[in-house]
């Protein structure tokens, strides 16, 4: 945190001292993170349900639930019925935003990731329509049931501005080119189940990682709060108070089924076996 009298614009304006988390007691290896653009792409790839913002005819910014898929460049694909207000709104004004929230949030949802993609929704060209339709159904299998309903129409959101929030104090703006160019995390879809499995069945391994690799030899409990291709985030209890650390994998994971080997390697290293 800054110690200047006037807090910079990206910090909360807090009366009195800011609480400080217990620092690590040991040096740790660097633990790289996803870039904000990669975080945005990972969130979009992690689920198939989001909230759409459109302009309603009576002047409200209209928020409504939608299912979505996405093209290879991260552009969301919507398939909406004219029975729904958002479809009629898009027909008269294509400006829209889509917020995707972490489908496996922490207990305090505001500490979890979410991203807003703002842009312009367009009906895809005939050339693109089949690709967009396939992307929608790949993400939303139940969409097959209404694929031929004549009141439904297909839309692609051309992303123009991205705002990512990773939780308290972690946020960034991402330009459209960086969003489009960023690689999707191959473990985005599998991360939720992997996190639950580690916490349910391998709390001892997580604690060993925190103690041996995470800089907190005094940790007494460790909970995985997120996992991605580069490593995992742990919430820790210590006698000095609660804190958090991050542990990087030996190598970035390159496929969804690579998470298990990467975490087993960390657990072995932590236990010196």
């Amino acid at each position: 945190m800054s110690d200047s009298a006037t807090p910079p614009a990206f910090e909360h304006d807090v009366p009195g001292p800011v609480p400080v988390l217990p620092p690590p007691l040991a040096e740790t290896a660097p633990a790289p993170r996803r870039t904000p653009a990669e975080e945005a792409r990972a969130l979009v790839a992690s689920t198939n349900v989001a909230t759409l913002g459109t302009h309603s005819s009576d002047g409200y910014p209209w928020a409504s639930l939608v299912a979505y898929g996405s093209l290879d460049d991260g552009a969301p694909v919507l398939f909406v019925s004219r029975l729904a207000e958002h479809a009629r709104n898009l027909e008269s004004d294509g400006r829209a935003s889509l917020v995707v929230a972490d489908p496996n949030p922490r207990k305090d949802v505001l500490a979890s990731g979410r991203v807003t993609l703002a842009g312009t929704a367009e009906r895809p060209s005939e050339e693109l329509a089949q690709t967009a339709r396939d992307a929608y159904v790949a993400a939303v299998p139940s969409g097959k049931a209404y694929l031929d309903f004549r009141d439904f129409s297909l839309w692609v959101l051309r992303v123009e501005r991205v705002r990512w929030v990773g939780g308290y104090g972690r946020m960034d703006t991402v330009d459209a080119a960086s969003y489009t160019a960023a690689e999707t995390d191959p473990v985005a879809r599998a991360a939720g189940a992997a996190k639950a499995h580690l916490n349910d069945d391998h709390a001892d391994a997580l604690l060993a990682m925190a103690q041996a690799l995470g800089g907190y030899p005094d940790a007494t409990a460790a909970t995985c709060t997120s996992i991605d291709r580069y490593g995992l985030d742990l919430d820790l209890d210590t006698p000095r108070g609660p804190t958090a650390t991050r542990i990087g994998f030996a190598e970035p994971v390159t496929a969804a089924d690579g998470l298990r080997a990467a975490t087993v390697e960390l657990a072995r290293r932590a236990r010196g076996t």
Copy 2:
């Protein structure tokens, strides 16, 4: 479904015949449902996280994640930081909407409930501010940590238009007066855990209810998909195909801790004990 050639505006435009669910084989007692206004109030009371739609300064309808509480009349209370775009948006244009989605959705989220509340966000009067603040913290306990941050401001959304969607084919528009006047379901917060408990531990009782009280003596499996003060909804397997039924409680439940007794009474009645 209508059998007229031109489908009415509230039905999907489906090519070919519409699939028909197997009908009940026995008469059943009436099973009342919440009104659309009550459904809307129940959704708002069921969670503390929603998506807000605001007008961004560059013209996008801006969707973003927020925590919220609500006043006794169902008006949502927001407490937002100027570091977030939505707070700056509200300062220049109070028109907003809030979408609340069922926090315990079905596997197909589009089959689950959600509601959009559109209205105008206002800074509460000094008189109302403490009530609004208390309502926020009651719903969002972690809000205590930032209650005194000077970059945060309190807003009350004056609801002007409500659109409720209960799932496929269940939806309605609710006017502001009906929304405000509707009673909150006392079991709204407890429903998610109650549903999970019934499905995990009492599948046999649910099946007995479907067979003896729900009109489907040929049901082979029953899953509770929602529960409210008036009764419960069941998805069923039958040799004639999948279907659904609803079973009303003997009396509406009047307090959160009344769900257990009401479902035990149904189970006993179903088994004739």
